[in-house]
């Protein structure tokens, strides 16, 4: 375009391109603000991240301090509650609000780490399977089928029961079992991109395989990868809370939302707040991520079937 060339001439080479990038960025931000759902998601997620990062400053009490005299106090708006404990106390007298705030840390750490591990694994495998094809592809896809055959929860529980529950083991289990979603989609993208002319041109020019893989194919698969990663964070958070609920997550006294739910389950007959709030926290966090993830998907790759 003449305008762009003129810009480059006046301001130096490359200036037009950087202006274009800035325009793209502004377009994206505008579209974010137009979508109320995405904004809501962003707001919720920011609140959760904020809580996790600033937990020691936000939480009114230490989440592990027990106060048996004050046990099972209802939330502040209940006549028997008090504003000292906004959301009430649990069966050991610990402040629920503080535990919720600290619990966000575990959820976010596990969610993000597990996605990092499974995403890296999955994208790598998907790239290799899609590019090399033939029997390598067949093997990988059989492995995918085999892994998908097992109800994830059972596999996770069995493995954690054998290896022992800890933060590290949970991240490993979630990461190692989560790669499948990425691999499938990335492989499909690579299969279609592989036939593109520019790939064949690079090949003809003598470009090496590694170069093709990383410099040319990888950027194309980043979009679906990001969409999947976002939605997977939500799934990982739910799975972590499920494991914690079953007692196989991060062990007490570290507060986890799933663990709080498990504790609260015994007290639903007389202390409904123990179980209700952690679950709400999980649901809102996951909702926020899903809303944001849907917006990202519509932005980057609307045809993606997730």
């Amino acid at each position: 375009m003449e305008v762009l060339e003129a810009v480059d001439k006046a301001y130096g080479d490359g200036h037009a391109a950087s202006l274009e990038r800035k325009a793209e960025f502004i377009k994206i931000v505008r579209s974010l603000f137009k979508s109320k759902a995405a904004l809501a998601g962003l707001f919720i997620l920011s609140a959760v991240i904020f809580s996790a990062l600033l937990a020691p400053y936000l939480a009114p009490y230490d989440p592990t301090v027990q106060d048996i005299n004050n046990r099972l106090k209802p939330p502040a708006w209940d006549p028997k509650g008090s504003w000292a404990h906004l959301l009430g106390t649990d069966h050991l007298g610990r402040d629920i609000l503080s535990r919720l705030i600290y619990g966000s840390r575990i959820s976010l750490i596990v969610g993000l780490s597990a996605v990092l591990v499974s995403g890296t694994l999955g994208i790598l495998i998907g790239l290799l399977a899609g590019y090399y094809g033939k029997w390598l592809d067949d093997i990988f896809m059989r492995v995918v089928d085999i892994q998908l055959a097992f109800p994830f929860i059972l596999l996770a529980i069995a493995v954690v029961a054998v290896l022992g529950p800890s933060l590290r083991n949970i991240i490993i289990v979630l990461g190692v079992t989560g790669w499948v979603v990425y691999a499938r989609v990335i492989r499909a993208e690579v299969l279609s991109a592989r036939e593109a002319e520019f790939i064949q041109a690079i090949h003809a020019l003598g470009g090496g395989t590694l170069r093709i893989l990383f410099r040319h194919l990888l950027p194309n698969v980043v979009s679906p990868g990001i969409v999947i990663a976002t939605l997977e964070v939500a799934r990982m958070i739910i799975l972590e809370s499920a494991l914690s609920f079953l007692g196989l997550g991060v062990q007490p006294p570290t507060p986890t939302w799933g663990g709080m739910l498990s504790d609260g389950r015994q007290y639903i007959y007389n202390a409904w707040w123990l179980a209700t709030f952690p679950g709400l926290a999980i649901m809102l966090t996951v909702l926020g991520i899903n809303l944001l993830g849907d917006w990202i998907r519509d932005l980057l790759d609307p045809k993606l079937e997730i």
């Binding site: 089928d145 055959a149 097992f150 079953l246 389950r265 179980a275 679950g279």
Partner: protein, 306 residues
């Protein structure tokens, strides 16, 4: 053409089943010493060595795997440590209960989700559409175990309408089935809506309308039949999710199914039962997938030429 495709799928399924058996076998050997797993924590080194020899754990892995596979094919997974009965028998005894729960959950999901999805797609962007999709989004964001506990809280504790645990008449089935089916319901609703929207926009629909085909026939016979393809695929996949989700739901509602049995077995370190249960569930899922594949081949002729 179709037969060749089906035969190749059949062999792929066999490979997957073989892989399933390998993973099931491997669970016990993850830490390297199954004998240590099977004994209480204060066992002496001699006890462990003795057990290792008795159970044949000091044979090479491939020999042990062969033994396991032979046993598995005959349905012999050993005796349960807890109950002293054949492990597989314990699993099969509880399978009907789990299947009842899973089928009920699937039925509830489909009967609510499909109409909601269709209506949403027909009245796009109306209040009905938005409400339906918000509900679906929430449904996909809430953890299964929290929903179960909340339902027990509302219908069991506060309203005294429905029982909160155990198996009995249909009133015992409603809450667990609803809990189990919620996520699937949400997912199918969203997929039905997007699938219908996509197809309703296609030209052959407009042709049918121009021809004067009555609207109901257009929707049901032309649009739905094609939207059904991804929906049926999802149903097949969701059966696996349901079988897995049943684990948690059964625990919460004390439903006497395979899931609950497996979790208790894991807590009790009753590994023959764990292996029998995991293997059986995985096989069921693989078979369901195969059936879905066959159905798919009939519904979508394009698949036969892959």
């Amino acid at each position: 053409m179709m037969r060749k495709h089906l035969i190749s799928r059949f062999f792929q399924t066999l490979v997957v089943l073989l892989g399933v058996s390998m993973v099931t076998f491997a669970i016990l050997h993850l830490t390297g010493d199954p004998a240590a797993l099977l004994l209480p924590l204060d066992a002496t080194a001699e006890d462990i060595a003795k057990l290792r020899h008795e159970m044949g754990f000091d044979d090479p892995l491939i020999v042990q795997y062969g033994r396991f596979l032979k046993g598995a094919l005959r349905g012999d997974f050993g005796l349960s440590f807890r109950h002293n009965e054949p492990a597989l028998q314990l699993v099969l005894d509880r399978m009907p209960a789990t299947l009842e729960l899973t089928v009920a959950a699937m039925l509830i999901s489909i009967s609510v989700a499909v109409p909601v999805g269709i209506l949403s797609s027909l009245k796009r962007n109306s209040l009905l559409d938005h409400a339906g999709m918000v509900f679906a989004l929430l449904g996909q964001s809430m953890p299964v175990f929290w929903l179960g506990i909340m339902l027990i809280l509302v219908f069991g504790v506060k309203l005294h309408l429905l029982p909160s645990f155990g198996k009995g008449g249909i009133e015992h089935l409603i809450l667990p089935a609803l809990t189990l089916g919620m996520f699937t319901m949400a997912r199918i609703a969203r997929l039905t809506r997007s699938g219908m929207l996509e197809i309703l926009g296609l030209e052959y629909i407009r042709t049918a309308q121009a021809k004067g085909v009555p609207p109901r026939s257009v929707i049901l016979r032309h649009a739905l039949k094609n939207a059904a393809i991804p929906i049926i695929t999802i149903i097949g996949l969701e059966m696996g999710t349901l079988l897995g989700g049943a684990v948690i739901t059964e625990t919460i509602f004390a439903w006497p199914g395979v899931g609950r049995l497996t979790i208790q077995a894991i807590y009790n370190r009753d590994f023959p039962v764990v292996q029998a249960a995991v293997f059986t569930l995985a096989c069921i899922f693989v078979l369901i997938n195969f059936v879905v594949d066959v159905l798919y081949t009939y519904l979508d002729p394009r698949v036969r030429y892959e």
